[in-house]
């Protein structure tokens, strides 16, 4: 799995890529390290076609851990396939999902928590 980060405004956009089908698994530690503590991050799945069962669980753990330590996280770039898998197994509703990076950035930047810390 490859990770690339860039900053858009105050939001860290973490782009993942690779076939996370079980040959490789989402490295939760790596992702978590890139999410700013008390900050905002978008996890961009545009270049990820598939997440296996283990990766889905790691993603959820990372997401919740980040939220518990005060960060705000949203997902973008879910392919139709990925989105439909998440929906079918009941995981989709656990995440904040934005249609694209611009919307995601706006969502995180304009959220009440954001204004409180701005």
């Amino acid at each position: 799995m490859k990770l690339r980060t860039r900053t858009v405004g105050t939001v860290a956009v973490i782009s993942l890529s690779g076939e996370l089908d079980g040959r490789s698994t989402l490295d939760g530690d790596q992702v978590l390290d890139l999410i700013p503590r008390q900050g905002r991050a978008l996890l961009d799945f545009t270049d990820v076609s598939y997440l296996n069962s283990r990766s889905l669980r790691i993603l959820l753990l990372v997401y919740r851990h980040a939220q518990a330590s005060g960060s705000q996280v949203a997902l973008v770039g879910l392919s139709e396939r990925l989105r439909s898998v998440l929906l079918a197994v009941g995981f989709l509703s656990f995440f904040v999902v934005a249609a694209d990076v611009a919307t995601g950035v706006a969502l995180l930047t304009n959220s009440p928590e954001a204004s409180a810390t701005a």
Partner: protein, 721 residues
């Protein structure tokens, strides 16, 4: 938590002690049976009462040949249980099985076969049929492989539904058939995820319990026949032939191809519960997919044939199920297996109850003799984890044991009341001599369940076995030619009547009578005491073109055609109103049989019977008119219900019983009236102009409710003055 994927290694027994077959291993933990993820490895455990040696056979996903075979060392055996923890497995990509060696001196009935790889009877997931009807590999020696999957799931506080069983309305459906039709308009047709999209429909209809036809792993290719009309290969569509008792069918999951069927099924249960709908599973413990000696060896036969199957003295398979073998349910090992299976589904999947197919087999001892106190049934009845589950028996089998009313119930079990079905059908088609028994069935069959209460009776007119409701009123005879057995299969005893023409008809009178008969059936069913069960699709007149044994068709014949909802809005509306009616009148849902006395002090007995004249029922054989009045203290004051059923082809004038005090008769339903006057919304029933006389139409049902008139509005009086 700083490292989300950290593996805890602070147990002193989470390290290997040996090497076997190239893998680090250690003696494992016997419980739980099956394959369990443990720190650093996988614990494999299974039992055989007589195996001499056992090995774990490992495959990479989809590869025909194994990549490793690990014989269980003696140190891994306690009694007949073999348990080994294997470290370093890439468990996402592994499939496994077992090779079992029997005793050097085989006993009668042993069928050990070390040349075969067997699957794990405790497998939590199977691969091999991940996507429904994907053509199997020819001559695949090991098609149904066990897989390793995750147990964890965020239930978000979900628990089994806590409700009184008597309030249930059961809706029997087939997972694939419910949303596979193109007109179903769901994202993933024919799946658990697809069913979630129909939850709003179920809520709108008003059912609060779904009974899912078998969802334990089965092989849809388990059928050699061909449809003589179309030439298509026939399938095992219904699924009454279990392979994997602990595994939800992957082929019913949109995410089955990714191995996520467990999560998808759990999500289905969670969403159903969120909508207030309980989940009952149709379970098949009377036989397995292994069949008799000519069937495939999948697990039990090669692991412990003598234990798992009822065998004759010379080792042949008893066949009380009609399918080739009979599970030896009351053997202590099999009993534990079944009990642990049910506990697993109740706890792991939050299932609310079980319906046991051919349950009379659960009463048979190891030699087939019916037992008065079958240990399995007793154990299920007292199990603490299953305490709140509804347990439903289809209390007969294919070996001649018919136990409706006599199934050993330990005050827990309900039964599919086949007698209810039979008399209701016969009454509807106008048979003589039915009103007496109909009366008994309407009040919860006290002749059968006096000691249990009405909730022991699962009332139904149709189910997956037999005609759909639409076909019950459209066909005199079965038409199963497409099943490939020259129409010899399926029951001939349907008590159906085609209303004047066989099959589809353009005759408006025939069609109108059929619609009326369907309404009659539903109204009678939903106003009877006991727990009603509806067969999915009956509310929109689903047809199987007269096929009353459609177990083998994966196609529009069986799929719920959602365009029927538009075509048959009138019937749907009627059924929905009857369901709402039932929810409004607690006395119809009571577990106590009525006794004919004024128990609630409302001025009338709790039940009374009437004919054309009030208070004068006609029990003679040639009479086809029966009226019942139910009276009780309802949540909003006295509640009186009068239901008249006329199976005669002519109308009748009825004199109505007089209501006490300020109560007046209001008309809830009249199946001879044209819609929308055929049924009202509960609470909004129009008052009858004539409180003493009413005419009931031919082959019709009339339902009245007696309510006090609203108190006069004092402000209205003031304004008149």
């Amino acid at each position: 938590m700083s490292r989300p994927v950290h593996v805890v290694r602070d147990r002193i027994d989470s390290f290997p002690t040996d090497e076997v077959g190239g893998f680090p291993v250690r003696p494992g933990r016997p419980f739980p049976f099956g394959a369990t993820l443990v720190p650093g490895g996988v614990n494999f455990s299974l039992f055989s009462s007589a195996a001499d040696a056992l090995s774990l056979v490992l495959f990479r996903l989809g590869e025909r040949e194994p990549f490793a075979e690990l014989p269980f060392p003696e140190s891994c055996r306690i009694g007949g249980v073999w348990a080994m923890t294997v470290f370093g497995l890439d468990y996402e990509h592994v499939e496994y099985g077992y090779r079992v060696q029997g005793p050097a001196q085989p006993r009668i009935g042993d069928r050990f076969d070390p040349s075969r790889v067997l699957t794990d009877p405790h497998a939590r997931a199977l691969s091999g049929r991940k996507v429904w009807a994907t053509p199997p590999q020819p001559d695949d020696p090991f098609p149904h492989r066990a897989r390793l999957t995750f147990d964890d799931f965020d239930w978000e506080g979900d628990t089994p539904v806590r409700c009184t069983h008597g309030d249930l309305v059961i809706y029997e459906l087939h997972v694939r058939g419910y949303t596979r039709h193109p007109a179903s308009d769901v994202t993933h047709p024919g799946t658990y995820a697809g069913l979630v999209e129909k939850i709003p429909y179920l809520k709108d209809l008003g059912v609060n319990c779904v009974e899912l036809m078998p969802v334990f792993e089965f092989d849809e290719f388990d059928n050699d026949r061909v449809n003589p009309i179309s030439g298509d290969r026939l399938m095992n569509y219904w699924g009454y032939s279990t392979l994997g008792f602990f595994a939800p069918k992957a082929g019913y999951a949109a995410t089955g191809r990714y191995g996520m069927q467990r999560d998808e099924f759990k999500n289905l249960v969670k969403e159903l519960h969120r909508a207030g709908i309980a989940v009952v599973l149709d379970v098949v413990f009377n036989h397995t997919a292994e069949g008799n000696e000519n069937g495939p060896t999948i697990h039990f036969r090669g692991l412990d044939n003598r234990t798992y199957y009822m065998l004759t003295a010379d080792g042949q398979y008893y066949n009380f199920s009609g399918t080739g073998n009979t599970l030896n349910c009351n053997h202590p090992i099999v009993r534990d297996y079944i009990l642990s299976c049910l506990r697993y589904w109740a706890s792991e999947y939050h299932v609310d109850g079980f319906r046991f197919d051919l349950a009379a087999i659960l009463d048979r001892g190891e030699d087939g003799t019916p037992l008065k106190s079958p240990p399995l049934v007793e154990a299920l009845s007292y199990d603490p984890l299953l305490r709140d589950c509804i347990l439903i028996a289809e209390a007969w089998d294919a070996g001649g044991l018919y136990q409706v009313g006599t199934f050993p119930d330990y005050q827990r079990w309900s039964e599919w009341n086949g007698r209810y079905r039979d008399v209701l059908r016969r009454f509807l088609k106008g048979d003589p001599g039915t009103v007496g028994e109909l009366a008994t069935r309407q009040v919860g069959s006290p002749d059968l369940y006096r000691h249990r209460g009405a909730h022991a009776s699962i009332n139904f007119v149709t189910c997956h076995d037999g005609f759909t409701l639409a076909d019950l009123v459209s066909y005199n005879d079965k038409h199963n030619e497409e099943n490939g057995e020259d129409n010899r299969d399926g029951t001939d005893d349907n008590s159906s009547w085609n209303c004047g023409a066989e099959g589809p008809s353009d005759d408006p009178q025939v069609r109108s009578l059929r619609l009326r008969q369907m309404k009659n059936a539903m109204a009678l069913l939903l106003t009877s005491q006991g727990i009603p069960m509806i067969c999915a699709g009956d509310e929109v007149a689903r047809t199987q073109r007269g096929n009353n044994n459609a177990y083998c068709h994966d196609g529009p014949l069986n799929w719920f055609d959602w365009s029927l909802l538009d075509e048959n809005q009138e019937l749907f509306r009627f059924v929905r109103a009857c369901l709402a009616f039932r929810a409004e009148h607690p006395q119809l849902r009571s577990s106590e049989h009525p006794c004919g006395e004024d128990r609630d002090d409302v001025g009338l007995p709790d039940v009374s019977w009437h004919g054309a004249e009030a208070w004068q029922p006609d029990w003679s054989a040639e009479n086809r008119l029966l009226a019942v009045m139910r009276s009780s203290a309802g949540p909003n004051g006295p509640d009186h219900i009068y239901l008249a059923a006329n199976a005669h082809w002519e109308p009748q004038d009825l004199s109505l019983p007089e209501l006490p005090g300020e109560c007046r008769w209001h008309r809830f339903a009249d199946t001879s009236a044209a819609a929308p006057a055929d049924v009202s919304q509960p609470g909004a029933e129009p008052i009858l102009a004539d409180q003493h006389q009413i005419t009931i139409g031919p082959r019709s049902l009339l339902i009245l409710v007696g309510r006090p008139l609203p108190a006069p509005d004092p402000t209205a009086l003031r304004s008149i003055r």
